[in-house]
């Protein structure tokens, strides 16, 4: 079930990605509507991170292409921001929380210009949004895993982009913070920004997202959450794992969503 978005910010055409000749993404065609909070959902190894990395130009596809705001990525880099699944940085680097978030201002401020006061304020703002302003002077290794994740989120927020890709931003983040950040993301999409989030928890996915991609090497579905979250499509995505499907069945019942919507 692949639905065309009316006003797409992102389109992907015939995208295939292989690692060592083994396909990881197979012939993906999709669109994502502007101003949506979109969830990418699928089992481990489904290619979710690979999809985002390919869109961000970090991995070269074997075939196909993607367009953002109807342009190739290189022309619109400033408007796109990416939070990787696991910050693969050296945590012992002499950098404070604030230093990291300030990097989010680098491209707007101009790569060879001085950082202005306004940039510092925007960085501090972003820190506040993830509830980390008290830690601004901390060295980054002196943070918990969830706090580290929030710092990288703040760096992305500081970029003031129009399209965000966040790869499991809530991994290790506590429930209160997750709710606060989801509210924040909704506020951003309300202002016309688009946020694409890789997410594992099916239960909260129903509440969070307007648009959903179900991915397992192939694109199983792409469309509004109410049309995509059917047990049939979920079963297809997760390959009919028994316990999981029972869980989803219960879930769909509780949420009162149509388990098998017929269009």
């Amino acid at each position: 079930m692949i639905k065309e978005a009316k006003n797409p910010v992102l389109e992907i055409h015939d995208l295939t990605v292989t690692y060592h000749k083994k396909p990881v993404l197979w012939d993906i065609d999709l669109t994502i509507p502007a101003g949506s909070l979109t969830g990418i959902i699928g089992p481990n190894g489904a290619g979710k991170s690979t999809l985002i990395k390919t869109i961000m130009g970090l991995i070269k596809p074997s075939s196909g292409y993607s367009k953002i705001f109807d342009k190739p990525l290189d022309e619109v880099r400033k408007r796109v921001s990416y939070v990787p699944q696991r910050g693969s940085v050296d945590w012992d680097f002499p950098a404070s929380v604030f230093d990291v978030v300030l990097m989010g201002r680098y491209s707007d401020a101009g790569m060879f210009k001085r950082i202005r006061k306004a940039d510092r304020e925007l960085a501090m703002d972003a820190l506040q949004k993830v509830g980390m302003e008290k830690f601004s002077k901390r060295q980054i290794s002196e943070l918990s895993g969830g706090q580290q994740q929030r710092v990288f989120l703040a760096r992305a927020l500081a970029q003031h982009a129009d399209l965000y890709f966040m790869d499991e931003p809530f991994a290790g983040v506590d429930a209160a913070t997750e709710n606060a950040i989801i509210d924040l993301l909704h506020e951003m999409t309300g202002k016309g920004k688009t946020v694409v989030v890789v997410h594992h928890d099916l239960q909260s996915a129903i509440k969070y997202f307007e648009w959903i991609l179900l991915l397992n090497t192939r694109l199983v579905a792409s469309g509004p959450v109410t049309e995509v979250f059917t047990s049939e499509l979920l079963q297809k995505t997760y390959g009919g794992k028994l316990t999981l499907l029972t869980e989803i069945g219960n879930l769909l019942q509780r949420e009162g969503l149509p388990a098998r919507e017929t269009k």
Partner: protein, 302 residues
């Protein structure tokens, strides 16, 4: 006056190397300085055979090219051969250095270079090699001009390229997504390491160059959590090292470069034990205090 020139020369080398070294150790490439300082030897010999001069811009340029070539070769072996970076560095620089040594011995009659000079240099001669203008004006030691020029280039490079250098060092993935070219900054940095290494090692010797590239930055790393401060502290330690090393050498009547390297090691050892943030001593004290505090808090809440 000689003491002044020697300490100034040592300080110029120390600051230049320390600044670059801060980037190198954080990029886990501390030993690339070692590799480049040895691997440029064949490049220097070739340039020397062509121009017949020792201290020409051509030689610096040839060395920089060889340096970049060395880093390319290291990357190639690492990527295509799937060999770890440190092993690729080892393979590359020993091979190139050996080729350089063979060239020197083959062209011994024509080449006024010897291994000892390359490895150990002779900073004590710096004051005597002065730059005299045709009109007879004495502009001071030539080394000061060369090293001063290199230092200015490095400072300009670091202040102009601060953001891209910081981003590519700390988080190359992020740097890429905001459109910074990772190879561009890598090779710019490597060219400057090559130029610095070559400009310095003839004067102070390769071993002191390596010491300055690694030890003051490592010391500063132990003393601060702020990268800008790390740059400044390592330069400061570099100057202290050059100064104290000179007087140690005078006191012992020994090698100046050797004494400077020893002082660098002594400062590192001091930081290792007594650094307020990372030192072993304060870490222990802090742990003890935290434990005591924990006990007190525990006592009051109960």
């Amino acid at each position: 006056m000689n003491a002044f020139w020697i300490i100034t020369t040592g300080s110029l080398v120390a600051i230049t190397c320390s600044l670059l070294g801060c980037y190198l150790i954080l990029r886990k490439m501390a030993m690339i300085g070692d590799a480049i300082s040895h691997a440029v030897l064949p490049g220097i010999v070739i340039a020397f055979l062509y121009t017949g001069q020792r201290d020409s811009m051509v030689m610096l340029f040839a060395a920089a090219l060889t340096g970049v070539f060395t880093t390319l070769l290291i990357e190639l072996i690492h990527k295509k051969g799937k060999l770890q970076t440190d092993a690729s560095i080892g393979v590359t620089f020993t091979l190139l250095f050996a080729i350089g040594i063979i060239m020197i011995s083959v062209f011994a009659g024509q080449v006024d270079l010897d291994q000892d000079c390359v490895l150990y240099g002779e900073i004590a001669y710096v004051p005597f090699d002065v730059w005299l203008l045709d009109s007879g004006i004495n502009l001071g030691p030539r080394a000061i001009w060369v090293l001063g020029g290199v230092l200015l280039i490095i400072i300009a490079f670091i202040s102009l390229g601060y953001k891209p250098l910081y981003a590519t060092t700390f988080d190359p993935g992020f740097a890429f997504t905001i459109g910074i070219s990772i190879p561009l900054w890598h090779y710019l940095l490597m060219s400057l390491v090559s130029i610095t290494t070559v400009a310095s090692f003839e004067i102070v010797g390769a071993i002191l160059v390596i010491a300055f590239l690694v030890v003051p930055p490592a010391t500063a790393y132990l003393l601060t959590d702020d990268f800008k401060k790390m740059l400044m502290i390592s330069s400061g330690i570099g100057i202290l090292t050059a100064g104290s090393g000179y007087y140690l050498a005078v006191a012992l009547n020994g090698s100046i470069a050797g004494a400077m390297a020893v002082m660098a090691g002594i400062f590192f050892t001091l930081a290792f034990f007594f650094s307020p943030s990372h030192g072993l001593l304060f870490k222990k004290l802090r742990k003890k205090r935290a434990l005591l505090q924990g006990h007190e808090e525990g006592a009051t809440t109960i």
